[in-house]
Symmetry: none
Subunit: 224 residues, 4 copies
DNA sequence: GATGAATGAGAATTCATTCAT
DNA sequence: GATGAATGAATTCTCATTCAT
């Protein structure tokens, strides 16, 4: 009896118990996603999720503290997945002649094309919990990994601002296109435009400075 | 007794009935806004709105069919206001040396700095009701009015796509900055970056082609 | 000031004021009836009645003390109308060979075929207000008028019980047929059966005794 | 420890779960009945029922979809009970000299004497849900069981019509007597009259034809 | 750890009725 | 007498969460 039951074996990544828990969580996620897609957010309740997942409401609460926790968890999983997907797409240098920016934009558009309703709902929950900074951090981390391979020093503006604007431009515009049910979504033109936007943000300093011209008068007193 | 009470004065624009209704609606809007700001969306209920507005729940339902109708109405009012504000800002040529793009961006940032929580909630309700296209139409209308005074023909891309991307870039990025509670908000740098983005979108074809030429610093990114 | 205002002049059947009030009441009745028929009792509210009648809710309350008063009033009018209709039908001796009982049954069936839903609702309201006895009195009065021309003395049972059973049998069975959406409604057979039932109730004692004599085929039945 | 607690005993008809649910339903029924009797239908609300039943409103909704479902359920239970009661009464041949018709009539009157208000309300709800045909089917089934033991073939009219009229006559007249608070209720005379009516409906064909006499002129076009 | 009946605060909405104009 | 905005008690029903089994 050297090895205790329930004790994780060293080379085993996850114990059966943990695996089972993970499966249950996935089942819950999928149930929630289906309800959002098929019946809308208003039909999303802990009871409906449990019923759809084929588990009892008690079990659901054994895995998540409350309803919001489910959505936030889903959002985090999605964010992780998105980050990995973009990194993978960009890292794929197999196709020459296509800029890294375009690869990233393309990957993001594709990501947003799948289960847009679910994405919107879980991200809204994530944001509503004041986790915007968490998301920002993740986006920045991924962006940093990509740009780290290039020399960013030549850029005309602070890396951070440029990064922020460029990344948000792409993700936000895609989201806006969805919310407005824009016919542009899925067109080549849309991809081109976004790609250009990103690339333009990283035009060398000299050119950038020239392009943006005057910028003489600042914008003072903001107020709510 | 030359002038009777209750007698409508000639120059009154609106009948007392309409005015009263309008005032009540405004009172309801303000109450809803305050609740969102002070207690969050979850505390927003028809009962709480009526209580805060100092009217009975019955009166509230006499003015709006349901809770959602209130939010959608607020969103529409806000959109109208936004459009007017941007047009006014751009039309203001008093300050030379500041591009129209910058004026628009500045106006939008200022608009978003006011009651951001309220804006987020009402816009979400507006979008949730499938009114994305309605909003898109309004944005396009305003953008068209602005660009109509410039020669857009020189632009390298379809007017529509360019317009869409440019306008959404600005509004969406500002919104994203809010949701993430970004420290960039309110900085000069942020305004500069957005302004550049818009202006670059409308750089004449030739220059545009040149600008996007290098494409050396591909800067993709990520988001869920 | 011999003649007071508001005092009805003797030879004037109805003052214009009263006529107008009567018209308004009829308009209200018709509005209520239409709502019951078209949208069901649940849609019947003082507000919906006023709206449908094209008058203000305040005016409605100027004519009726409350919602129930409207229905009770409608029921009374209907009962009066029913009584008159039956009496007229029975009095019509133009068609020889048709028994008075049959004429009454026929008239009642026809009455119940008109606006059955409205009838059900207003009669239920009438009964719910404990006005059953009022209705009973009216039915008895009509029945008395009809049978008064015949020699009821020969009947084997108390006039009252016989009357009660016979009249209720007809009206109640017709109503039951409606509530159960019975296919018998409107058939000749149904009329025959009801007519027989009434006539049998008034068969002279001797014959009646004989008829009920055998009692071989007892046919009981059931209902909740 | 041969018998474990929580272990279902072999002869238990129903699982504890089902039993508990059944008890709760009965508690709800009784609470509703009491409110109807003591405070009238207008006091009947889901809240008042739950309170009176000593359960939470949530539990009530866990057992019934809505208020109407409770009443319809009560009506069905009552209909089942009534059918069984009548069959039992008729089957009781212990008392000779009393016709089956009389036994059935007597049973029905007795049934209607208990909780008349409750009966009226639940039956009204049942009918209002368009379940008249359901009720008709049950009545017919019970009537068929009773008459099945006798030769109905000799009857002068279609079995269906005769059955319908006879059964509805009894049940409807009893109900009418209640609604009108008739003093006849509970008298021997009333029972006699109803019994006669039923028996007369099943007088042999020959006699029946004779009794109903002329019936020469049909009654044509009915219309609402 | 799973179960699911029970909970009950609270949300949305209705509607009979009043009353100042 | 007409009007109809305002009232607010009352009603139906939901749903996140708990806890005994």
């Amino acid at each position: 009896m050297t090895v205790r039951r329930h004790k994780r074996v060293v080379f085993e990544r996850k114990s059966p118990k943990q695996d089972r828990a993970r499966v249950t969580r996935e089942v819950i996620f999928e149930a929630a996603a289906r309800i959002i897609e098929e019946q809308g957010v208003r039909a999303l309740s802990t009871n409906s999720i449990a019923a759809r997942a084929g588990i009892s409401i008690g079990t659901l609460y054994g895995h998540f503290a409350n309803k919001e926790a489910i959505l936030v968890s889903m959002a985090r999983q999605q964010l992780e997945f998105d980050g990995a997907a973009v990194l993978k797409a960009v890292g794929n240098e197999a196709i020459p002649g296509i800029s890294r920016a375009r690869l990233a934009v393309r990957a993001l558009i594709r990501l947003h094309l799948t289960r847009p309703d679910v994405r919107r709902v879980v991200m809204a929950a994530h944001a509503a919990h004041g986790l915007g900074p968490e998301r920002a951090a993740l986006v920045s981390r991924v962006a940093a990994k990509i740009t780290a391979t290039r020399n960013l020093a030549e850029c005309s503006r602070t890396q951070e601002t440029a990064l922020f604007v460029a990344t948000r431009a792409v993700t936000s515009i895609i989201r806006a296109a969805f919310e407005e049910a824009s016919p542009l979504l899925g067109t080549q033109e849309f991809e081109d435009e976004l790609t250009d936007m990103v690339e333009r943000s990283f035009v060398p300093a000299a050119l950038g400075a020239q392009a943006s011209g005057p910028k003489l008068l600042a914008m003072p007193q903001y107020r709510s």
